[in-house]
């Protein structure tokens, strides 16, 4: 009874005290989230087949949204939940901790177990056990990165995705080798889909991520091809006189928008892949090229110099009047819609001789330059819309880079293979 009274007294005291002070926090800081990924436990004496923690660490760092703790700074290396010394992590201001184990369960079979822990409240935010064959270990690490990313940012991760890109190698005697490749989003596991002595360009992922359309000059003129990634089977879908280029998949994957100049002037056409029949979308005497479908498939945006300089226009996917979308700068080209359909990225020049990546908010028409380089091209949204991958000229050629959609985070993506260009970020691999 006495105790209850005391409790009541205490509670009333608290109830009174509660309103004594209320501090309003009306601002915060923009910045990468701290996270520590502890090297995973490994149940064998041999070298682990994949450094899971390193793969995850690199993913998170590359996103620009996280600042992983350096391995040498880790105060402890727990692999189990009950080994975590929460106080140590709190003292370091490290709120997020990833621990895990890689276990070989048989010949070539593994099990990956991980936990994401908040060190301040000691709670587990996520925890999974994922069986994986050796070939899927790296992908499993990317999936873990995705889970962590989503748990801490609220945005679906795009680490378990792939990118397509073109590389060019000098082969001597004025010869070059053009390669079309796909790789994991972190640049690992590059696979050459096609090699040619003639230029390859404009890779475009089908919405299901199973095919890639591209432009090849192998027949001494531009032609559009569609290639199955898994089987390598390829089909030339457009090889007319003049330009055959800029393929863009409709969201349902049944059509390709493209640029053809078979009738004497580059215009936008839509090809039904089942029949290879085309219908002309634009009829302007200017250059109309670089079509792209809106997310819902109702509209097509493209580049046109009908107004005197290259600018971006948008028209209904069934044709009709085109509406100009860009008004800032003397050059805006190669649009790509953001996955939520609310924005667009493009190459933009603002009368300063620089060609940089811009972000256009469609509702307001407000656009901003995201990069600070001079010769950027081929911007492409990650499927979660968080990052834009693009190519930028270097002294010796070009390389891939990424910038966050708000322009705050910049990353350079070092890839093997000399000149790297025209990145295209593929769709989510899993539904």
């Amino acid at each position: 009874m006495k105790r209850l009274l005391l409790l009541l007294l205490l509670m009333s005291h608290i109830a009174i005290a509660e309103d004594a002070l209320n501090i309003i926090i009306d601002e915060g800081v923009e910045g990468a989230l701290p996270i520590a990924v502890i090297p995973f436990g490994w149940n064998q004496d041999t070298l682990e087949p994949v450094d899971m923690a390193l793969t995850i660490t690199n993913d998170l760092a590359r996103s620009g949204r996280f600042v992983p703790m350096k391995e040498r700074d880790l105060p402890q290396r727990p692999n189990q939940f009950d080994q975590i010394n929460f106080k140590d992590w709190r003292l370091l201001g490290m709120e997020n901790l990833v621990i895990g184990n890689l276990v070989q369960t048989g010949v070539g079979t593994y099990e990956v177990e991980f936990r994401l822990v908040n060190t301040f409240n000691g709670r587990q935010l996520a925890g999974f056990r994922i069986p994986a064959p050796i070939t899927q270990l790296r992908r499993t690490a990317h999936r873990i990165s995705d889970i962590i990313f989503e748990k801490l940012t609220g945005v679906r991760g795009a680490f378990d995705t792939r990118i397509a890109y073109i590389t060019v190698k000098e082969m001597g005697q004025n010869k070059k080798q053009y390669n079309l490749l796909i790789a994991d989003a972190d640049g690992f596991n590059p696979q050459v889909l096609l090699s040619s002595q003639e230029p390859l360009l404009s890779p475009a992922w089908s919405p299901d991520g199973k095919r890639i359309a591209y432009v090849s000059f192998e027949s001494r003129n531009s032609a559009i091809w569609v290639q199955d990634i898994l089987t390598g089977a390829r089909t030339r879908v457009a090889g007319n006189k003049g330009i055959n280029s800029a393929p863009a998949w409709s969201p349902d994957g049944t059509r390709l928008a493209m640029t053809l100049s078979k009738d004497g002037n580059p215009d936008i056409y839509i090809m039904h892949l089942a029949t290879h029949t085309t219908q002309q979308l634009t009829f302007n005497r200017a250059i109309d090229t670089e079509p792209v479908w809106a997310v819902d498939g109702s509209k097509i945006a493209f580049t046109s110099d009908r107004g005197g300089s290259a600018q971006i226009y948008e028209s209904s996917a069934i044709g009709g009047e085109a509406r100009r979308l860009t008004f800032e700068g003397n050059y805006n080209a190669r649009p790509r819609y953001s996955p939520d359909g609310k924005a667009m990225t493009m190459v933009s020049s603002r009368n300063d001789g620089r060609y940089r990546i811009a972000y256009l908010e469609l509702s307001s028409g407000y656009s901003s330059i995201l990069t600070n380089t001079n010769l950027d091209e081929s911007p492409s949204f990650a499927p979660n819309g968080s990052m834009i991958i693009y190519a930028t000229a270097t002294r010796t050629g070009s390389e891939l880079a990424a910038v966050s959609a708000d322009g705050t985070v910049h990353q350079r993506l070092a890839m093997q293979g000399g000149e790297v260009r025209e990145p295209a970020w593929g769709p989510f691999l899993s539904p």
Partner: protein
């Protein structure tokens, strides 16, 4: 002696009476007193003066008799007469003595009566005095109470003023504290990628010294990530720069307060 004593007594009495009745009937009592004093001493004085003169005369006559035989008969006659006179005087004296006794008796009676009156008066006076004393006491008490009240009031006012000053200081401290804590928590509040328009209230419990004992979500934003970022922002700010002395800490209500996150 007797006279002065009587006089003293009467004076005393009169004074007493005067004092005693002063408050009641000033004029009448004054008159009575005067009457009493005049009548009684006159009687006593007359008797004593006469007897002495007679004796003196007698002695004178005897001396003359010796010297002048001629005049003896005359003297004897005179003596006789003197004796007669003496006898008469004696008788008179006797009578006077009786008178005196009676007077004395009367006096005593009167005295007694007076004493009784005096006692009565004294009692009245005593009563009056007691009443007065009581009144005085009460008055004093009232005064004292009034003084106390005034003092109390003054004290209260001073305390009030002190409290107001303290409250102002406290408020000032709270403002500074809020600003400082707000700044620190804001610096720990990572809003990257958070959707706009969210709000949550975090309750925090401290121990003296500023160490955070416990944080909890009092009002959720509905967005788990937002809530968690807010919680971490507060937790990372521990210990908070609270006043070092526990009394101030308690007075300012810093044991438990809240943060409203509304970036």
């Amino acid at each position: 002696m007797q006279r002065s004593g009587t006089s003293f007594k009467s004076v005393f009495l009169s004074i007493l009476l005067h004092l005693g009745a002063a408050a009641l009937l000033i004029v009448s009592i004054d008159m009575n007193t005067r009457t009493l004093r005049q009548s009684h001493p006159e009687v006593v004085q007359a008797v004593i003066v006469d007897s002495k003169e007679v004796e003196k005369e007698l002695q004178k006559l005897q001396e003359i008799d010796k010297q002048k035989q001629k005049k003896q008969e005359e003297a004897e006659q005179k003596l006789k007469e003197a004796e007669q006179q003496l006898a008469a005087a004696k008788q008179q004296r006797k009578q006077e003595e009786i008178k005196v006794t009676e007077a004395k008796k009367k006096q005593e009676l009167e005295q007694k009566k007076r004493e009784e009156e005096q006692n009565k008066l004294a009692d009245i006076k005593k009563q009056q005095e007691e009443v007065k004393k009581k009144q005085l006491t009460e008055e004093a008490e009232r005064k004292r109470e009034e003084q106390d009240a005034a003092k109390q009031k003054q004290l209260a006012e001073k305390q009030k003023a002190d409290a107001a000053a303290q409250a102002q200081l406290d408020q000032q401290f709270k403002n500074n504290f809020s600003a400082e804590i707000g700044r620190r928590v804001s610096n720990n509040f990572n809003i990257s990628g958070l959707p706009p328009g969210l709000k949550c209230v975090i309750s925090v419990r401290l121990i003296p010294g500023g160490e955070i004992l416990n944080v909890s979500i009092k009002q959720s934003s509905g967005n788990e990530i937002f809530d968690n970022r807010a919680l971490v922002a507060v937790q990372k700010t521990s210990p908070l720069p609270v006043p070092l002395d526990t009394a101030t800490f308690e007075r300012l209500g810093l044991r438990q307060f809240s943060f409203t996150f509304i970036p």
